[in-house]
Amino acid sequence: MPATTEPTGQPSGQPAAPTGTPPELPGRTVLDARDIARALTRISHEILERNKGHEGLVLLGIPTRGVGLAKRIAARIADVEGVAVPVGALDITLYRDDLRKHPARGPQPTDVPVGGIDGKTVVLVDDVLYSGRTVRAALDALADLGRPDAVRLAVLVDRGHRELPIRADHVGKNLPSARSERVMVRLSETDGHDVVQIADAPGGEPA
């Protein structure tokens, strides 16, 4: 059993880089650390504007990298509003529609903030929006946890190629890409540094 297999978004064969040092990757950098910071700040303000304040907001990151992004957005909202909005994690492994295509992998923690999601405005946060299947699974997972008043979607990168009628409400960067290309998001929480890169990779990568 591949207990150590990383979930979506982790291209194989990339060694973990030492903290703070951008590694040599075969890709082109599309967002550096400062671009990512600016994008997240803008997304945070957009979320607040759209919601007309922080009331009823719950941020749920989709593991692995969505969780770190959700926490960063929560920190920015706290800076602006002076209030800590609830932030958690929503694992979608058990709701995937391609479970049978891979060896079974263990689910990651789902952590719903105290107070739940009933009657709240849930903002799902993920790193890359691609086929839309992850978001579809997340909506199913949410329905089993409660009934939010509204669900919105914030992503750092939208690379297109949707396979389902799903769109993001808040996008850090629209990144036109070919299906054969690979979009790699690296965040300091999980990878030691912040960068978004795009590279040629025959076969592409599920996101």
Partner: protein, 310 residues
Amino acid sequence: MKKHLLSVDDLTTDDVHTLFTTAAEMHDVQRRQVKKLPALRGRTVINMFFEDSTRTRSSFEIAGKWLSADTINITGKGSSASKGESLRDTVLTVASMGVDALVVRHGASGACQQVAQWIDAVVINAGDGTHEHPTQALLDAYTLTRRLGTLEGKHVVIVGDLTHSRVFRSNVACLTMLGAEVTVVAPPTLMPSGVDAWSASAGFATTYDLDEVIDKADAVMMLRVQRERMSGGFFPTGREYTVGYGLTRDRLARLGPDVPICHPGPMNRGLEIAADAADAVQSAILEQVSAGVAIRMSVLYHLLAGEGAV
């Protein structure tokens, strides 16, 4: 992970840790209002129980249902087995209906191994004779890991009817795999024959004297006296067994406040375990039951959800 779960020996240490990690997530589902995950939608799991069971069968059934599998129960009594159909014919008949997994309990040791050779479906051993009961061992080790933090270097004392206990056989394998030191205690008549060679190779200790080891226990596991499997006089009276090997009120007083008490159930209160001990703050017996659902969800998920699973 191997295709079937017939014995604890089918699992590596990594497999066990993976099963525990997944079980912890499954445990959270038990606290939800909507206890349903779609992971095994469209899969069919048949529980074939040729021996009586309450918690194993119902927890396998709940585990399957919470993962959205279709679960069906077949029991020895009330099935064609009671009309004289052989195990092989019953199994092949059921397999022909298109099942993905068979959860089998049978009175004969090795029955599940045999079943796995007859059919393509995943076979999970839910107790075969006096041989193995791997999901029980997993849930016991999982419960103790949650209570104690780790099993590494912990001293687990297993007491009771070892000769007839499949729980004991699977538990010794699982606990020692996870680094626990295991001492097994039984009266000479209920100590399995040939235990000396086995304990030497598997790395556990044996003794006839419970009082000698109970003070040094980090966890105590009491086993049921299985009268239905006993054909002769293994001890003079129940009272005498209790005095020598029961977890009595006096022995309970010697256990520390953080020493979990386990029992796989069903309990003979007053025989191997006093009511005070069964209901003590240290008792982990009901935690074992809820862990049983989580562990069985984890096992069903890992054996049935992924690529290549049947």
